[in-house]
Amino acid sequence: MRCNEVKRLLSAYFDRELPADKSIEIKEHLRSCRSCAKELESIEKIHRLMGAFPILEAGPYFESQIIERIESEKRKRRFSLGLKLAIGFALCGLMLFLITLRYLPSENVTLETTPVLNTYIQEYIETYSGHIGRSNPGLIVSVSSLGETSR
């Protein structure tokens, strides 16, 4: 094995993550190669240095704050579920109402107008039918029909 290849594999060798045959080869190489052995020492040194990495300790309320956050999250979820259910029920009610309306017998629906409104509509038709008729004759029919119905 060449030094370049050994050096590239030293990190995995140190972690004992290499297949057995590769590890044996590297071990053999390290016995006779001072440069690669020094490289392995530097990896070992980094590992030892990391033992001095600062350690954080949790504050005294760490655990109780987690419980509080969990309870608050549960409340939020319950509220959200309740809201979804309420909206669901409201939508169902609305749909039921619309379906009921759709199947009501049509003769029951009547259009009732007051005499004052009748007079107003009649005047309106008489005043404007000529003008509308000139620009759009089709509209006269619909306006006249309205007059008929309202009467």
Binding site: R8, L10, S11, A12, D15, E17, S42, I43, K45, I46, H47, R48, L49, M50, G51, A52, F53, P54, I55, L56, E57, A58, G59, P60, Y61, F62, E63, Q65, I66, I67, R69, I70, E71, E73
Partner: protein, 193 residues
């Protein structure tokens, strides 16, 4: 997984918050320091660690006993840290009240030695934090959490070859940054002479 832990997980799955708080007690130091080593910020490490525990509780029904609870929990922490990294760039460290930094290996040191040890800690921390996030994540999981390449590969969803090459690059970078630094053992030996 220990029987006791298994039981606590089962209870937590049924919504038992008290059982879950025992799991919190067991893993709080681990989770807190995983967040700290990954993000390098002490000021919001506690908040993020708590968020990770809350997520774990709310999703505990999804935990299948095929893996260790600690591995599953680490995955939540790592994903959360990745989100935080994406959210904002690193800020300057600012110690928050209620958080303590401790020097590993507690014993009595002279004032000079304490200062020297703190300087070493600071340089180590800065060096690790100077690593690009992708290298740092792999390095932290291997060096501090002692996960295998296979576990890291699954956790970060990257091939094992990538884990290996990132670790190699991380170590080479740290070697050049810390080559002149003494280890804590060397500091202790020197003061004992």
């Amino acid at each position: 997984m220990e029987e006791k832990e298994e039981l606590l997980v089962e209870k937590a799955k049924k919504g038992d918050v008290l059982a879950f708080s025992e799991l919190v007690r067991k893993y709080e130091r681990y989770v807190l320091n995983l967040v700290y080593r990954t993000l390098g910020r002490s000021e919001d490490a506690e908040d993020i660690a708590q968020e990770a525990f809350v997520k774990a509780f709310l999703n505990i029904k999804k935990f299948k006993e095929e893996s260790k609870f600690s591995t599953w929990l680490s995955k939540i922490v790592i994903n959360l840290c990745m989100d935080k990294i994406r959210e904002k760039a690193n800020r300057e460290e600012n110690l928050e009240e209620g958080m303590w930094l401790t020097i590993p290996q507690s014993s009595y040191y002279s004032p000079e030695e304490t200062v020297e040890r703190l300087e070493i800690q600071e340089r180590i921390k800065k060096a690790v934090m100077s690593l690009p996030e992708d290298l740092r994540m792999v390095f932290v999981l291997r060096e501090f959490e002692d996960l295998s390449y296979q576990e890291i590969s699954e956790m970060l969803d990257i091939p094992i070859g990538t884990v290996e090459s990132r670790l190699y690059r991380a170590r080479m970078k740290l070697r050049s940054l810390l080559k002149d630094l003494k280890t804590l053992e060397e500091v202790t030996e020197k003061s004992e002479m």
